[in-house]
Subunit: 222 residues, 4 copies
Amino acid sequence: MTGATPPADPSRLVSRGRIDKRRAILAAAFTVFAREGYAQAGVSVIAAEAGVAKPTVYHHFGDKENLFRAAIAADADRAMAENLAVVERLSADGTDVRVLLEDVGEHLVRCYCDDRSWALRRLLYAELARFPDLIDIVRGRATDRVTEALADRLARLSLAGRLRRCDPVEAAEQLSALLTGPLEGRARLGTRRVPETELSAVTRTAVRTFLCAYGPEVAEVV
Amino acid sequence: MTGATPPADPSRLVSRGRIDKRRAILAAAFTVFAREGYAQAGVSVIAAEAGVAKPTVYHHFGDKENLFRAAIAADADRAMAENLAVVERLSADGTDVRVLLEDVGEHLVRCYCDDRSWALRRLLYAELARFPDLIDIVRGRATDRVTEALADRLARLSLAGRLRRCDPVEAAEQLSALLTGPLEGRARLGTRRVPETELSAVTRTAVRTFLCAYGPEVAEVV
Amino acid sequence: MTGATPPADPSRLVSRGRIDKRRAILAAAFTVFAREGYAQAGVSVIAAEAGVAKPTVYHHFGDKENLFRAAIAADADRAMAENLAVVERLSADGTDVRVLLEDVGEHLVRCYCDDRSWALRRLLYAELARFPDLIDIVRGRATDRVTEALADRLARLSLAGRLRRCDPVEAAEQLSALLTGPLEGRARLGTRRVPETELSAVTRTAVRTFLCAYGPEVAEVV
Amino acid sequence: MTGATPPADPSRLVSRGRIDKRRAILAAAFTVFAREGYAQAGVSVIAAEAGVAKPTVYHHFGDKENLFRAAIAADADRAMAENLAVVERLSADGTDVRVLLEDVGEHLVRCYCDDRSWALRRLLYAELARFPDLIDIVRGRATDRVTEALADRLARLSLAGRLRRCDPVEAAEQLSALLTGPLEGRARLGTRRVPETELSAVTRTAVRTFLCAYGPEVAEVV
DNA sequence: CATGAATGAGGTTTCATTCAT
DNA sequence: AATGAATGAAACCTCATTCAT
């Protein structure tokens, strides 16, 4: 319906500056911020990496803080999208619950271990004292929404009798914790790449424990 | 009597500079780094907070990076000591396992939510890219040693038949994950103080799930 | 009319920054370096004297060492130009050789005693250990080229029978030495202004001795 | 007569501090100043090189400027002693004047090209603007006294009919100039070691020219 | 709209110098 | 008399930010 770039270019309307430059700047900003940290990252470096001049960056984003927020928000969007897509696989069809959870678990775990995700979390932790509103930006976009979506799906499974009756939010919290908690140590906070087999093992263990507590009533576990 | 060099002045023995100033600098450094982040923290601010002159800081620690490492290491020592003291309460006496675990769990959770601990974790996440050796400093001092100690205790409980037979390291990992994972969200990465009642609730839920998976064979759970 | 990049703005062509500021900085740098020495000279002082901000200096020259080299090179250019102009007066026309040499000698001596020349030599001596390449910068630009030019002219005079047959480079070296050597003591290395009459006397004595050794064969000297 | 170090040690009386440490400090100071220049030389480095503690340096010399002056003066003493010893060889015995002058010239030239002499001259040139009194210190100790001594000897030779009648100071100035002038270029201000053969050549040429002007009246030169 | 050049402020680090031992 | 530790001042350099073009 919308020709890609018609003469009156609709892609030039959002925010100031050409939209492609804006995107290039955002990408470069996230890369550089992730690599060097907020304070050490130089706006000139970001501009260079984006292939634009420094004032262009300021033209688009006003100042460094804003640029940082925008870069974080953009990556939080990406992370949320990935996670939500994974959670949606938790459809209540006839598949065995364990298989279902292990499938979703492994995908979640892989998202969690993605380089960009580690970078995002690191930046979050790092600059939270200076940017208290970051938590709202990200919670509104990623972690919470994912937990909620997970809770939704678990609730449906519970209603369908495939899981014990439970507080679905609590269940979602604990499933997340079981999946990601052990990775923190094994990935050395993102500085070590966790091999696939380890990811699978962690996932299976997490799902096993989860099902012990939340599996269907009469399930004989393990 | 012995002239120029007194035989044993205990306040002059370790590293350079007077030992009390050194300690004051370390404390101030951790405070300021935690408040402002590594890059934004000014050495002058640290010196002022420690009540010494700037060159004194450099006399003791050489440069800012070294000071940072030393401050992190000192606080990691503190954290490890606290956590180990808690884990040692997991003695295999006659107390009911659930009560035992809830006691230890609640103390661990409280350590985890301590302001200094959040600060330590934030700094760790934040500067890990710039200081890759931080992970060794801290793993050698805190997280790993605690997990191992916990595994030791769980192994004994398992041998005593108070827990199911299991891989104790896996069990320790999962108990930790169940205790701390939900707090990450609720404490908003340390920017919100979690009320005591919530801490207790999280602990109870964690222990409940843990015991579903690792409790004694015939335990009637919940 | 031509849009973004004007075809030829002559004030924007050479190296970075506006050319006039660059020149002002170079002049200020030489003045301050000469007055205070390399290490004691503050970049802020140079910037102030040039009427620009400190970062502008760094924008143009990168760092203090580079600025120093550039300032030295610029003044070496000036000195060489002055000296070469003087040497060119040594044309082999019909004038009496003694008159010719005394004219040139006095001009050379005056160049040599110029404040800037003393400053240049002082800086050269002073910082040669730290900047070994200075010697190439200056030799390529001043002293050597002048000696060679002088040798060239003396060679022509020799060929014209106005001087004895000789090694012209040797002759040039000795003429220089006779002209400048005695000034070193009398000018107290540049801290005392040598009066004109003394300059003339030194010149005459130098030329007299020079002609004793290199004057035309049958010349009755003095 | 004086036992080297009798119980009541007379070598402890001059200036403050033990005299050997004082000497060690002076030597270290000259070395370091020569290597790094006045401003860049750190008092701590000098102290370390002398094997004493920093406050000891201050105890002996008061402050850095004083230390510098003392170090310069000490080396100027050394240089003067060497030069005077050489000049004294110019005794008016029966030796041929040319041989005599070439002998003295070569020794003078070798003193002039000594590493320490170059260092001394460099420091002199370098810091003359900051320490105007250096010139008096050194002129009172080295250059002038040497020129005067040389003039004395030349005067005697002149009286003895071995040299033309002349102003001996002028002659001494010119002889010095002819000897040292060409070396400035060839030694690249002290950064290049001039080979012995070149020293001899320069000396011979200088003496030849000198004798053309100041040799005995009827001398047939070269 | 995009850019090269310029700026004001601030950061880490070093150094000469002085106490207290 | 000699030293380890501490200090105040200042230096070099970088950066976020803004004009003119």
